[in-house]
Amino acid sequence: MVLSRLTSLLRNLLDKQRQERELDQEVRTHELLLADEKIRAGMSPGEAHRQARLELGGVEQVKEQVREMRAGRLLETLWQDLRYGVRMLRKNLAFTLLAVFALALGVGASSVMFSAVDSILLRPLPYRSADRLVVILNHGRGPIAPANYVDWKAQSKSFETMGAAEYWTPDLTGVDRPSRLWALRMTSDILPMLGVPAMLGRFFAKEEEQVGHQYEVVLAYGLWQRQFGGDPGVLGRQISLDGKSYAIVGVMPAGFKFAPFWATKAELWAPLALGPRAAQRSGNSLRIFARLAPGVGLADARAELATTTARLEQQYPGTNRDARVVPLKEKVVGRIRQALLTMQLAVAFVLLIACANVAHMLLARGAARAGEVAVRSALGAGRLRLLQQFLAESLILATAGGILGLLFAAAGIRALVVFGPADVPRVDNVSLDWRVTLFTLGVSILTGVIFGLAPARRASRIDPAESLKEGGRSGDSTARHRTRSLLVVTEFALALMLLVGAGLMLRTLLALQAIDPGFDPHNVLTMVVSTSGSLVSAPGHSDEFYHELLDQVRAVPSVVSAGLTNHLPIAGDIWGYPFWIEGQSIPAPGDEPDAAYRLVFPGYFNTMAMPILRGRPIEDSDTATAPRVVVINEYLARRYWPDQDPIGKRFTLDNPAKVAAKKLNWLTVVGVVKNAVRSDWTAPPEEEIFLPYSQNAGVGPYMTLVARTAIDPAASAEPIESAIWSVDRDVTISEVQTMSAVIARANSQPRFDAALLAAFAAIALVMSAVGIYGVMTYAVARRRHEIGVRMALGASRANVLADILREGMALSLAGSVSGILGGLILSRLMATLLYGVRAGDPLTFGGAAALLAIVALAACYVPARDATRVDPVVALRYE
């Protein structure tokens, strides 16, 4: 039986013409035979044929019923419908292009966001069983003291392996162009723990953690290519880092990166030899990486670490009491998650609006084709058959939209990688792969089916008798109009939510730009000058070297002023130092006040335009032999000497509990400087102290030069670099950037969020405008007769205009109200992205609603004006 069905299927598909001919003949013969019968029974031939036709119920209908029965029917009709669909869509090219474009825009945008979410949030980090990797950090973000690491490693059972890493920026010298490299020193456990094998050579071993044996390095693929031309014979070669010779023992494969956060630019890994530092409970500098032991959950590890830490806290008060275990991936993507999810939601709204618009068009076309549907239905097409045909059309639209959307997505992803905010983790992994492609096509087909179904159902439900009786008039129903109105309200609600999102981000951006950094970033060039590969780094030489360097830089014609600091605000590191104020009681260990520690050369405050509020800045007279001085910031002054003049007060950075009173190094406050942003643009001010480098020489192997220039600072980079190298050819210069660029990068995330949301909102606004325009145009066409009657009865144009506008505005109002309600809920999701504006900001909500109302008014005006131009005579005759 299966076989016979199969041969029938083949026959049906291949020999269709003969099949059709025979079917036609069979049914017609039947009618003739019926008539013959009736003639034999004594009926007149004419009457007999009429009766036979009635009894048969229509040749075409019977034939259609037989066809429905046939094997392969679905395939055949589907093909037919697709062909017919393409023909219909080509006939209405403008409609088709508009629908495809709207869909492609929505689908493309959501694919870009999906690929970002997929590669940044969903995919595991590129290490073996990456979900088992964790980091241990002070307060979940800061580094840890060496002795604590040593104790945890010895005492914890929750971790299979644990290792420590420390930031390192060595100078590579003995090559054509000395340069400063990003590197990590780390214990030998870390590389094997990641489960990525070396491409060449080996990792370093446990023995290299001993002081004196740490002179080995593993290179990243990029550095190997750049510095050594990808030479496979590089193993065993010696390179000079910070003036010491290191042997290259291994090269990692392309694409390998570590660490995935904080030291993301590292391309050199060397052993960490803690030596005597292993007993230190201060000098937090280590990030701890660990792999959870099999069967141990995150909660177990946290509990165990808390117990160990509590025990250590009793033994050694005030050291790393708030160490936290954080999953590595959480650490990497945690900050960006909220932004990405918000964008994903926004883009889903854009897609929904696009779909609503296409549904509009399909509904409108369904109405226009009511006559065609009625005829086909009268000729025996079943409801399912009609449904199938309408669906085929929307599927074609959806597929075309999907393919175009894929192109949009490809372009969008490239743009995201290029123009995306700085410092987004893993953004270079975002690409158009098969998952994104599948997502794009899946979304478009799904939208095609869902949003094609409603119009198709509506169209297929038309009563042929009613429709044909109306004689080709629109044949539309109130129900259809209601569906479209509902779509418009939905579109407006979604558009309003997007506008609110964009508005909130824009206000955030304005608030961020209004922040006073405490210095003037314009026309300031900065660069890091490192002396660790040069002889000047020897004790006693560096102070002299930097003074000479400043003299040379100041001699550059375009330079107005210049200064040096150890750590630049925002871009630079922050070193926190505890301090003890003279005459105040000694706080408990761990509860000492602490301050950001900055070393500066005279000229720094002047160059950065940081106003000195009281006293004086650091000056040339503050030499190594002069009395030790310090400049403090306003915040520190207010906090610790609230009602006194801080000038002349003294504090020390030496711990009075450990250093004999006579030996304490007292620093005298000589000046108070205005608060400036530290590392985080939006963070409130904290304590900061500025010490003269000359009195603290030798701390840190590099300094950051700041130079205020008379011309475009970027153009001064080269003469300044030459000036520096004229002092010593072996120093390295890196991170040459303007201060404005530093600030711009710090705020690139909110700026990007705002730009993206604004773009989405603009698309939404245009699409909703098109939607309400379509509905109102249609409403006017429907009411043409009524308007004609009213105008004939004396209604003024203004009356009619107001009436139509009122209908349109009612829709937009309903949309706005639901949008505001939705927006109030959804804007909470954005709370972490906002600054200086509340999630429920009434001004933003009001502004968005007003903008939407204006757009709606404009979109309704054209159809409303057309309505007033209806000539009553024409309108009435038209019926």
């Binding site: 076989l3 016979s4 029938s8 019926l34 009894e55 029965m69």
Partner: protein, 110 residues
């Protein structure tokens, strides 16, 4: 009152068509009239049900067809039972017999 066409169970229609064709081959109208005659007018099979059923049963291999000439000289499509069709009729007859018996017993139970 003849029952509504749409309520005529498909299986029942199939069975009656098979039974009508059990003795000799026939064209569509012949089958229709034969069923009317057997059921003494209780069932009237309309073309809209008859032809889809005939084509379906042919696709299933129960019927075979060929073009022949009717009594009054018209070219008509004639249907006849195949071996499979005959077996299907027997199966249907047995099944129907069981159902009828069961229903009769149900109705006669006191």
């Amino acid at each position: 009152m003849p029952p509504d066409q749409t309520n005529l169970l498909q299986g029942t229609l199939d069975m009656m068509i098979l039974k009508a064709l059990a003795l000799s081959e026939m064209h569509g109208l012949g089958i229709s009239r034969r069923i009317e005659q057997i059921t003494q007018g209780t069932f009237q099979v309309k073309p809209g049900s008859l032809f889809p059923a005939l084509h379906r049963m042919e696709e299933q291999g129960w019927l075979a067809s060929h073009w022949g000439e009717s009594d009054n000289g018209r070219r008509a499509k004639y249907y006849k039972l195949t071996g499979a069709g005959r077996r299907q009729l027997e199966a249907e007859t047995r099944r129907w017999g069981r159902i009828a018996l069961a229903i009769t017993r149900t109705l006669e139970a006191s």
